[in-house]
């Protein structure tokens, strides 16, 4: 039997059964949450795609300097994510967690922002609306991932997260196309520099309708209680969140996510370097993010399934190896379109083998009742580290130039991958087969952390 992961709806999986064999490993809840993400991303990306055009031609405003708030945004977003994770773990009166409620609040907040764009017509206010939109995104990330992990058999979590991320990315790719289709049908894009906004208003209205649909799917088709949830009466308190770092598995994983995040050059820098180093035609530049997204979309499920088989931490490290290869390709004398495609495929593979896989790995290391806070902790650590890397990389670029800055980053990333491999070296295998014995959960009690190499507590897949 499963200790903490006993599932109400299914018989326990026969340990002899190898994971990755059956296609029925993705529960309906994950597909529902994937649909919510897909639909919501269509809505968000519709707005993102036309926003610059809208600012310039719809309002006659200059968008330069619009991104100045990004730094403050990133820090604030990280805090919101932690709060979202913690709030979601709190218990309601019925003893169930509030993952769904917090997720609904997050998705709802973002949905509210779309019609607001019809009303605000100045840069500061538009900036404020986008900030609220991102707050919603920060709030919902941890409870959503917690629900995915709790709804899925531990052995198949990598693939489940892969399916979710693939659906999410599909939405991001469809969004801009939907926006231009609406502009086209509305007789736009209206090329008047100011004064004529109706084409954009149609985009914002349709985007709002799509966002409402996403919230509805969440309300109707995602259950309040996930099968993996423990019906415990003790709600985690705030200080239990800090005690999470006493879990050796989670501590190591967070440490590695931060370490590797510190050497992950942000997308916009990477695309800038692709353009300069590989000699890309100017008009193809806007397509670079689409290339990464396409790679991510195609590889998320197979690499997630591979993570279930080989171990999530291993794949997480391998993904950073793919990023290192992309850096190497950028630093090499190679150029032209084939090199660009290779870099984008590697970049997509990096996301496919780290984004959902990290969430799956983190879920293995946190007990069910603190899943939201635990996932938020790892994700936030990584996000803040990546933001720190952006600041450092920008400064380094000014000091030594783009190519040299990338060279240093590549060297640092290689070092961090080795260090992370060392830290995670004797971590227990996180697949359904062959896991060591787990201790009982000691969350919230100030016990000393176990010696290096002890198993993560409570919810590793332990046949006992």
């Amino acid at each position: 039997m499963y200790v903490a992961e006993s599932r109400s709806s299914k018989a326990p999986v026969d340990p002899a059964l190898r994971p990755g064999r059956r296609a029925a490993a993705v529960p309906g809840t994950v597909l529902a949450l994937g649909t919510v993400s897909l639909v919501t991303d269509i809505s968000s990306e519709m707005v993102s795609a036309v926003l610059p055009l809208y600012l310039l031609t719809g309002l006659g405003l200059s968008p330069l300097g619009f991104g100045l708030l990004d730094g403050i945004q990133n820090g604030f977003s990280a805090l919101v994510r932690l709060a979202g994770g913690h709030l979601a773990d709190r218990r309601g009166a019925d003893g169930a967690s509030r993952h769904k409620a917090v997720a609904v609040a997050g998705y709802g907040l973002s949905a509210l922002c779309k019609p607001l764009l019809l009303l605000v017509h100045t840069v500061p206010l538009i900036g404020a609306v986008i900030a609220v939109d991102r707050t919603g995104k920060g709030l919902r990330t941890a409870p959503r991932d917690a629900m995915i992990s709790l709804a899925t058999e531990p052995a198949h979590r990598g693939r489940a997260f892969g399916v979710h991320r693939a659906m999410d990315t599909a939405g991001a790719l469809i969004g801009p196309l939907a926006a231009f289709l609406v502009l086209r049908l509305a007789g736009g894009p209206l090329l008047a520099d100011g004064g004529q906004r109706h084409g954009y208003d149609a985009v914002f209205t349709v985007s709002a309708c799509v966002a409402v649909l996403g919230v509805l799917v969440l309300l109707l088709f995602v259950p309040n209680r996930q099968p993996g949830e423990t019906a415990t009466a003790t709600a985690p308190r705030l200080r239990d969140g800090l005690a999470l770092l006493r879990l050796p598995g989670l501590r190591r994983l967070t440490f590695c996510a931060v370490l590797l995040g510190l050497t992950t050059v942000s997308d916009s820098f990477l695309y800038l370097l692709v353009q300069r180093r590989l000699g890309l035609a100017t008009d193809l530049f806007p397509l670079l993010p689409l290339g990464t997204a396409a790679g991510f979309l195609l590889l998320a499920v197979p690499l997630g399934a591979l993570a279930d088989r080989l171990g999530r931490r291993r794949l997480f490290l391998a993904g950073h190896g793919a990023l290192l290869l992309a850096y190497g390709l950028l630093l090499s004398p190679l150029g032209g379109l084939p090199a660009v495609v290779c870099v984008l495929v590697l970049h997509g593979a990096f996301y496919a083998s780290t984004d959902g896989v990290l969430a799956a790995a983190a879920a293995d290391a946190v007990p069910a009742e603190q899943r939201g806070a635990g996932l938020a902790l790892v994700g936030t650590g990584q996000a803040l580290a990546r933001f720190g890397c952006s600041l450092a990389f920008g400064a380094l670029w000014s000091a030594v130039g783009g190519t040299a800055a990338l060279g240093w980053s590549a060297a640092a990333l290689a070092g961090c991958v080795l260090a992370a491999a060392f830290v995670l070296r004797d971590a227990p295998r996180d697949t359904a087969s062959g896991t060591p014995i787990a201790g009982t959960p000691t969350v919230g009690t100030p016990t000393a952390p176990g010696a290096s190499g002890t198993a993560p507590p409570s919810d590793s897949e332990v046949p006992s």
């Binding site: 968000s44 990306e45 707005v47 993102s48 926003l51 610059p52 310039l56 968008p63 330069l64 619009f66 991104g67 100045l68 708030l69 100045t122 500061p124 939109d133 991001a172 801009p176 196309l177 231009f180 509305a186 007789g187 894009p189 008047a192 520099d193 100011g194 004064g195 004529q196 109706h198 084409g199 208003d201 149609a202 349709v206 309708c209 799509v210 409402v212 649909l213 509805l216 799917v217 109707l220 259950p223 309040n224 997308d267 916009s268 820098f269 695309y271 035609a281 100017t282 008009d283 530049f285 806007p286 993010p289 689409l290 990389f393 920008g394 670029w397 000014s398 130039g401 783009g402 800055a405």
Partner: protein, 345 residues
């Protein structure tokens, strides 16, 4: 807690919601389409526009002004000409559509949008004196500025480029210069060496926009980096950009080459209307505020050595105004429903 709904009820609720939301979305699209067809019908009281030949060579009678017509009707967004001394007279439309336009010495530059299968693409088109296309170049984003050198040999344009990141607030500009004699294209002026305060300078956030030409080798432009903007002097042969003065955007060089009209970000103004129209004396670096008290977001055009012409928002999108360059006088509206003017003579 509410009791869980039956599966069938859930699907039914979803279907009803899809129908309702679909109706709202469809209504919004139809409403917008209806509005946009109205822009193709002439409005009463709007300037009169008639089709006819438009040339970039000065007519026998004197100067003419060529610009993008913004008056609603069948000639919306087309290049039109009016006699320079009768700007509010009847407009002659060429039938050539441009978002941004400039011309000098018989060479025109026209930035236009083209309908793609999935999204719009933009092109920079070099025109001859009869507005025929000589050559065109793909552009990576939304057109914003264009200029031609006094000799007509060089054309420059600036577009905004943005990635598709979530809630993308990441904007950058891309400026290009092409020699129309041999089609030698400098696709991205960011690759030029920046010399800031006399020292070589590099940064990831360098953006260049608003080229204005002195001759066939020297030009001026704005370079933004580290949250500040600078006037730079560019050298095409040496591939350098040298900073001269801070807080200068969209420079425009006077015909006598002594002064720069530009947008200055004046401290203390609101974030919506941060710019005022200023003139900088290149010999003394003295700044003079013009009498225009409103927010100007345009690269001004010199009517002559004493007068500036620029666009401000208006009922049809934009109107053209003039103001003396010496800081005296008053701003005056000279044209309704017009943008991107040039005296191509």
């Amino acid at each position: 807690m509410t009791p869980p709904l039956q599966g069938r009820t859930r699907v039914l609720i979803l279907l009803v919601a899809v129908v309702l939301l679909g109706a709202v979305g469809t209504g919004a699209v139809l409403h917008a389409a209806d509005n946009s067809t109205r822009t193709k019908q002439a409005q009463p009281g709007a300037p009169v526009v008639t089709p006819g030949p438009v040339s970039l060579r000065p007519p026998a009678g004197g100067r003419q002004l060529v610009f993008r017509n913004m008056a609603w009707g069948p000639h919306l967004d087309e290049l039109v000409s009016v006699p320079a001394d009768q700007p509010d007279g009847p407009r002659t439309s060429s039938g050539v559509q441009c978002l941004r336009f400039y011309a000098a010495a018989g060479t025109g530059i026209c930035l236009r949008a083209e309908r793609g299968a999935l999204q719009d693409t933009y092109r920079a088109v070099v025109l001859d004196d009869h507005l025929r296309e000589l050559k065109s170049f793909p552009a990576a984003g939304i057109p914003t500025r264009s200029r031609v050198s006094p000799s007509g040999h060089l054309a420059a344009w600036t577009v905004f480029v943005s990635g598709d990141s979530y809630a993308g607030t990441d904007f950058s500009t891309r400026s290009s210069i092409v020699d129309v004699r041999d089609w030698n294209l400098r696709e991205n002026l960011e690759t030029f060496a920046v010399i800031k305060d006399g020292k070589p300078y590099q940064a990831s956030d360098v953006n260049v926009w608003g080229v204005t030409f002195a001759d066939d080798n020297t030009f001026y432009a704005t370079v933004a980096t580290g949250g500040r903007t600078h006037l730079v002097r560019g050298d095409l042969a040496a591939r350098t950009l040298t900073t001269l003065h801070e807080n200068v955007e969209c420079p425009s060089l006077s015909p006598d080459g002594t002064r720069i009209a530009y947008k200055k970000r004046v401290p203390g103004l609101s974030e919506d209307s941060p710019w005022r129209l200023y003139v900088l004396d290149l010999a003394t670096m003295t700044e003079t505020a013009t009498a225009e008290q409103r927010n100007v977001d345009d690269q001004a055009v010199w009517v002559d050595d004493a007068t500036l012409l620029y666009a401000l928002p208006g009922d049809f999108g934009a109107d053209l105004w003039t103001v003396p360059a010496d800081g005296g006088g008053l701003a005056e509206r000279v044209l309704e429903a017009a943008v991107a003017p040039a005296y191509p003579g």
